[in-house]
């Protein structure tokens, strides 16, 4: 990559300087406080500057895809929760979308509304805690993270009330949702959503003008528009690099065409950690807008269409994708006429966004490598699968 070649001659100069500054090879991880799971970065340091970085992962590999190929379509639904365990709802949705394409099931309207509500709540959960983790990586003592968790808890309570579990929701079914939300849930959700902007105001006041955060994040981990596109980056990270691309707008899947919302993206001059951080902050505001519209427009009706629990689809290939909070999450299924998929493939946004880590980190300080990793927003459950 371009930055790699840019750093190499520089590094040679350091050597020519005469002092035998040997490179310090540091293995950051798999048990490092800020690698967000069992992830390892083999970093070569010249002083504090990263001259080489090799991401090593696979410590959390659980054979997700092969497992799914050996069980019925429905049975792998709970396993999708475990991909990106922060966002089980959107994982469910992407898989449900793919399977619904396969067997052509209609989803009732109330279920569509609830799906949108759940997905946007998930986006709030993910972004708010990502920002918290990110600031934690910057060295804050957990204060923003704990504020984020305080709000996240309210949303997780909603999830628990609806699905029975806080994180492994396993809530979506082919053709709708597993069960309707309990009585009064929508009011509680409205309450949470109405109060969320107050929290966001506070959060922005705490973070967005802080001089230390500004100078730590700006100009760090630049990702150019071209590299972002050619590396297949998706989600907020792509938009932070200045590309206006949101699957909710592109595919207009489900009922996203009914809602008015805007997609924030940067002007693409730098695409640094600050952009990635701010794009997520702004996206939360838009999610609240969607949530308000959805919670206002939801009607009564069944939440589960007349769909079979267990089925034998006709041989076909489908790809279902959603705009997960981390990027494009897609499920690619090949059916061969048996109750089990012939091929089951996940397009994990975390993994694909992670591929540019090295390019972003080279030449930066070791502290920057940590926050760049944080700004990519990975979940190892999804990277390793």
């Amino acid at each position: 990559m371009s930055s790699a070649t840019a750093i190499a001659p520089n590094y040679e100069l350091i050597q020519q300087d005469g002092l035998e500054t040997s490179l310090l090879e540091v293995s950051m991880g798999p048990h490092h406080p800020s690698t967000h799971g069992v992830f390892r970065m083999d970093v070569k340091l010249d002083g504090e500057t990263v001259v080489d970085l090799q991401p090593v992962f696979g410590y959390l590999h659980r054979n997700h895809e092969k497992l799914a190929e050996n069980m019925s379509y429905l049975a792998s639904m709970p396993f999708t929760d475990r991909l990106d365990y922060f966002n089980s709802m959107t994982n469910n949705w992407a898989y449900a979308l793919a399977a619904e394409k396969l067997v052509e099931i209609e989803v009732p309207e109330r279920a569509e509304y609830l799906r949108v509500i759940m997905a946007e709540l998930t986006r709030l959960v993910n972004h708010v805690s990502l920002v918290g983790f990110f600031i934690n990586d910057l060295g804050a003592l957990g204060t923003p993270l704990l504020y984020a968790f305080r709000e996240r808890e309210k949303i997780l309570d909603l999830f628990e009330q609806a699905s029975g579990a806080r994180m492994m929701c396993n809530y979506f079914r082919f053709g709708g949702l597993r069960n309707d939300v309990p009585e009064g849930w929508l009011d509680r959700a409205r309450d949470v959503v109405d109060r969320f902007p107050d929290f966001l105001d506070e959060y922005e006041k705490l973070l967005c003008e802080n001089e230390i955060i500004l100078s730590r994040t700006q100009g760090v981990g630049n990702l150019s528009r071209e590299l972002a596109i050619s590396a297949g980056i998706t989600g907020p990270m792509l938009r932070a690099s200045g590309v206006n691309y949101d699957i909710r707008k592109v595919d207009k899947y489900s009922i996203y065409d009914r809602f008015l919302f805007r997609v924030p993206y940067s002007d693409g001059n730098v695409g640094d950690c600050y952009d990635r951080f701010m794009v997520r902050m702004l996206e939360m505001r838009e999610s609240i807008g969607i949530l308000k519209q959805a919670l206002g427009g939801i009607g009564d009706g069944p939440v589960l269409g007349n769909a079979p629990k267990v089925f034998k689809p006709k041989p076909a290939e489908v790809y279902g994708r959603v705009e997960a909070p981390k990027g494009e999450l897609g499920f690619y299924l090949i059916a061969d006429g048996t109750p089990k998929p012939y091929r089951y493939r996940v397009r994990p946004p975390s993994l694909i966004n992670l591929t540019v880590l090295r390019d972003m980190c080279l030449g930066q300080k070791v502290a920057d490598a940590v926050i760049i990793l944080g700004s990519i927003d990975i979940v190892l459950g999804e990277v390793d699968r």
Binding site: D17, G18, L19, E20
Partner: protein
Amino acid sequence: MTLHHYLILAAVLFCVGLMGAFTRRNAIVVLFSVEIMLNAANLNFIAFWRYSENPALLHGPLFTLFAIAVAAAEVAVGLALVIAVYRHFKTVDLESMDTLREE
């Protein structure tokens, strides 16, 4: 305590430094030794001042102060030289720096 005690102590320290400077090959250790010798001299200055007839003149501390400042400068330059030498010879072994010697 008398002046003699301090003078003898300073002499011992000076000779320890001298021994280090003469017997070690490592340039940095030689620098250590020079520092030890300088400090022994400083001790002498202070001791002489303390036991002088007119300590209020503060000659001893003033001279020591200047000596310490010069020593600090000396260490900085000395270490810079050591590093320059190291860059050139890839060693700080004084005996291998013999390119000026006639073969």
